[in-house]
């Protein structure tokens, strides 16, 4: 079979092959029952309940093996029927659209059930507080103490506050609703992109399915945070540009491009990192097209006067200029935004890449030093770890198969499709960074974007690989192989995404952003906030989240240049230099949770990466001495938390 995926000879749309659901239903009653709408719906509902059961087991402290198995039983129950119908060749286009809607809901469900009523993830605290401040003041751009850069990207808080004002839902529910809606419509963008560039509704459906199970999709990009919203603007910008390139008339092309640029603008004002990835993705497409136009042999080098890229047979192919227009517009909007509104963005982002590259370099030179154990500090069962490792390996083989298909000219891709798939190849480039302490976060964060290309590659292979191959014992094993691939990607990708405390609720566990939170800390935060307003506070990394979110307090950000952690991580009085910094910056309070002295922090630190006691619990004596030093007095207290009023003026005076 040869499928041509440029518009000289578009591949047949699968909805033309399966024009109506009625026809499909009458063909096979068993399939109709297994993969029909009722089974999909009942599967999704039962799966939701089983995932809830797994969270119950984790909360009650059952073994990880048990709640992981339960969780995956629920997820498979919820996802498998819809996935099967999405992949099946004889599903109608309208049924595929319904399945995408269902898939969007069930892939958002685990994160929603994780914390349905309050923030729990690190970024959620920041965004929730931002929305609270925007709503209470009536103005955007409120200072944010958890993630200061959030102030300059008001998309999330503006949408949340608007949804809250209009609907009357709580701020949290409003934000979660916005994220859910964007998550679902984002999958439709992926579908449209796959359908457009791979020329088949089935390819679009497979692309949407693969994207829906990317490592970031099920937890990270469904949390209440700016990336969860912006990444869907990212998808729509790319999809609309691809549709513009394939549009049949100038009017509709212009309309699509205007919509793409509007979506890009929404992305720019919502999230910095997503904007960067959007610019990179668009750049890869235009560079690929330019390089292909220049270096691919034969008539393809030629250019038509209108600027259309001319493909080898000399006829007009899809123009590449819509990609240039979207790229130029996105860059212009981003530059204008950063220079006029969000100047601190460059300063905020610049350290990350340099640090992780230098750490990778160090790791290659010094074996064993600074090395991050893959999947360490994790209670994941072995089978999930194996599937996590198998996911990139499987994708690598899929890429090899795709290259073979292209080499054998089973498929012919246009330049934009090549560019998007090359962008997906960056997924493999990011994998080594997972071993670098500060690169791991960046690598993980990139997968939600590069998976656009990965999803297209997988869809290409799944849809266009010859139906009868490969064979085993005289029978085609294509279906079991496809099912196995999807299973590996679903389980492995989620396993490679966030760690156990982020995925599962559980008993109190010190040293995690999620399971270190408690009603007790929230109560202290609210009482302290009510008493002192937006006062400056020093606290550990975990208590600080709740203090900032629920108390509206201004949290210190300790660093080697501002070692505020010395108040508890050192058994001595603060230096005059530190005391002066604390006094002049008006950090008047210290909040300690005594549980930091009872167990080692799960994340390995109590005050971020610069913590002088990295990997260790805080010595109890360091906390007990706070009740006897002249520079601190306890003004609020509970069983586990103490609030101290600092009086460091005398020590600070020694600096002068």
């Amino acid at each position: 079979m040869t499928a041509t995926l440029d518009d000289r000879a578009p591949a047949p749309r699968r909805d033309e092959e399966a024009p109506s659901t009625t026809e499909v239903r009458s063909r096979n009653p068993l399939r109709r029952w297994l993969f029909g709408w009722p089974s999909v719906t009942v599967g999704a509902a039962l799966g939701t309940v089983v995932v809830g059961l797994s969270y119950r087991l984790s909360t009650l402290g059952y073994s990880a093996e048990l709640y992981y198995v339960t969780f995956w039983a629920g997820m498979l129950l919820a996802c498998a029927p819809a996935a099967a119908r999405l992949i099946a060749a004889d599903t109608s286009r309208s049924a595929r659209l319904g399945m995408i809607l269902m898939l969007g809901v069930v892939t958002a469900m685990p994160k929603y059930l994780r914390n349905p009523f309050d923030p729990s993830y690190h970024d959620e605290y920041a965004h929730w507080r931002e929305a609270v401040d925007v709503t209470s003041t009536g103005h955007l751009f409120q200072p944010n103490t958890v993630i200061p850069i959030v102030e300059y990207f008001p998309g999330t808080s503006a949408l949340t506050s608007s949804a809250h004002s209009l609907s009357g839902l709580s701020l949290w529910s409003s934000g979660v609703l916005v994220v859910l809606v964007m998550h679902v419509v984002g999958l439709f963008a992926m579908y449209l992109l796959g359908e457009e560039v791979l020329g088949s509704a089935r390819a679009g459906a497979v692309a949407a399915l693969v994207y829906a199970i990317n490592p970031s999709a099920i937890y990270f990009d469904t949390q209440y945070a700016y990336e969860s919203i912006a990444i869907n603007f990212f998808l729509w910008t790319i999809a609309l540009t691809a549709l513009a390139a394939g549009a049949s008339s100038t009017r509709s092309r212009v309309g699509m491009l205007v919509a793409a640029v509007l979506s890009a603008a929404g992305c720019v004002v919502t999230h910095h990192l997503t904007t960067i990835f959007l610019i990179v993705a668009l750049s890869v497409v235009v560079v690929t097209a330019t390089v292909r136009a220049r270096f691919v042999g034969g008539p393809s080098r030629a250019r038509h006067r209108t600027g259309f890229v001319v493909e080898p047979d000399g006829r007009h192919a899809r123009p590449i200029y819509p990609w240039w227009i979207t790229l130029a517009s996105t860059v212009a909007i981003a530059v204008a935004w950063v220079t006029s509104v969000a100047r601190p963005t460059l300063e905020y982002l610049s350290p990350y890449l340099g640090t992780s590259i230098s750490q990778l370099d160090n790791m290659t030179r010094k074996s064993g030093e600074g090395r991050r154990a893959l999947l360490a500090a994790n209670v994941e069962p072995d089978w999930e770890r194996w599937l996590t490792a198998a996911a990139p390996v499987s994708l690598f083989f899929v890429c090899v198969v795709a290259l073979m298909m292209i080499r054998q000219r089973r498929v012919v891709l246009n330049s934009a499709t090549w560019g998007l798939m090359l962008f997906g190849g960056a997924y493999f480039l990011s994998l080594p960074f997972i071993l670098a302490p500060s690169g791991a976060e960046g690598a993980r964060r990139s997968w939600g974007f590069t998976y656009v290309g990965v999803a297209l590659i997988v869809a290409l292979v799944v849809v266009y690989w010859p139906a009868k191959r490969p064979q085993w014992l005289g029978r085609s094993v294509r279906t079991p192989l496809t099912a196995a691939l999807m299973l590996i990607l679903l389980v492995g990708n989620v396993g490679g995404g966030l760690n156990d405390p982020y995925r599962f609720p559980g008993p109190f566990r010190w040293g995690t952003d999620t399971n270190s939170a408690s009603a007790e800390t929230r109560s202290i935060a609210e009482q302290l906030g009510a008493m002192v307003g937006r006062a400056g506070v020093v606290s550990d990394a975990y208590t600080a989240l709740q203090l900032a979110a629920y108390g509206g307090l201004v949290m210190a950000a300790p660093s080697p240049g501002f070692p505020a952690w010395d108040l508890v991580q050192s058994g001595e009085d603060p230096t005059p230099e530190l005391a002066k910094m604390l006094v002049t910056s008006r950090y008047d309070y210290l909040v300690v949770d005594v549980r930091m002295s009872e167990e080692d922090p799960y994340n390995g630190h109590n005050f971020g990466g610069g913590d002088p006691l990295l990997g260790h619990k805080t010595p109890k004596a360091n906390l007990e001495r706070l009740d006897h030093v002249p520079w601190a007095r306890r003004v609020m207290s509970s069983e586990h938390l103490r609030v101290y009023r600092l009086d460091l003026a005398d020590i600070a005076a020694r600096e002068d």
Binding site: A44, S162, L192
Partner: protein
């Protein structure tokens, strides 16, 4: 089956859109119940979204009945209109609130929808339409699915236990100990400290709650303690005050207040510890 794109007269659609938009605006401004305002919010996304989508992609220029494109794109564009409205209001110094946002979205929505209908109304086209029975089946499936998933989600949430470890907190209610100033008292004069103990997960008994006080680490026996349940607080709280004679020696002293609450059934509750304040005694 082929049918005309506008089986209903365009003027009727315009009136319907206008009524829906105005009703949504009214529901928001009049603070209707959440269920009604949720529908109103959906209208205020969809009307400007579809208007903008149809302006950019007229039916006769695109796959006009393509639900995969038009419906989600309308939602995305509607959300972008929300974003633009909020940022526009901010830029003009208008405070974001239900009335300002709803008014802006209604106005923008009516303008966009009107423009879209004007540009598209004169060009009816023949399109493939689904039979009525098929639409009813789809609507039934969507409603059933939504109901089932909502029920399943509620059941799943009910399955997940909420941690309910009881705890208590103690804090001064006077803000002086929180500030820069040090409380001042004349030697031997009565000093009054007010505090509140909040219990979460159990009801506290004022009668069974004990209060101790130490000055410079020395317990003070001559105490007058007032306690009463704090009904203003939704947690089980006890408001109290302790009155004691200031030390006779001038200078700065440290006062530690210990409150040990007990539950109404006499059972122990987690102790909140103590709170402390300096006291400047003058001659």
């Amino acid at each position: 089956m082929l049918k005309l794109e506008h089986p209903v007269h365009p003027a009727l659609i315009q009136v319907g859109v206008a009524i829906a938009t105005v009703a949504a605006f009214a529901a928001v401004v009049l603070q209707a119940p959440v269920g009604v305002r949720l529908v109103a919010s959906a209208v205020l996304v969809i009307v400007p979204g579809i208007g903008l989508a149809r302006l950019l992609l007229p039916r006769n220029e695109t796959r006009g009945v393509d639900g995969a494109l038009v419906i989600p794109l309308s939602i995305v564009l509607g959300i972008l209109v929300w974003l633009g409205a909020a940022m526009g209001l901010h830029a003009f110094g208008v405070k974001l609130g239900p009335t300002a946002i709803a008014l802006t979205l209604s106005g923008v929505g009516l303008i966009l929808a009107g423009l879209a209908m004007r540009s598209g109304a004169r060009r009816p086209v023949a399109v493939r339409g689904a039979p009525v029975s098929s639409r009813c089946r789809t609507a039934t499936a969507v409603v059933t699915t939504a109901a089932l998933l909502t029920g399943a989600t509620a059941a799943a949430i009910a399955l997940i236990p909420t941690p309910t470890a009881p705890y208590t907190t103690v804090v001064f209610t006077d803000d002086t100990p929180f500030g820069d100033r040090v409380p001042v008292a004349a030697a031997g004069s009565p000093v009054r400290l007010e505090w509140v103990v909040r219990g979460f997960g159990q009801n506290l008994s004022p009668a069974l709650t004990s209060v101790r006080l130490a000055v410079d680490g020395v317990p003070i026996r001559d105490l007058a303690v007032d306690m009463s349940p704090d009904t203003a607080d939704e947690s089980a709280a006890i408001s109290g005050a302790v009155t004691f004679p200031a030390p006779v020696v001038p200078g700065r002293h440290t006062v530690d207040l210990f409150v040990q609450p007990t539950a109404q059934d006499g059972s122990d509750v987690p102790g909140p510890g103590y709170v402390s304040t300096p006291l400047e005694v003058t001659a």
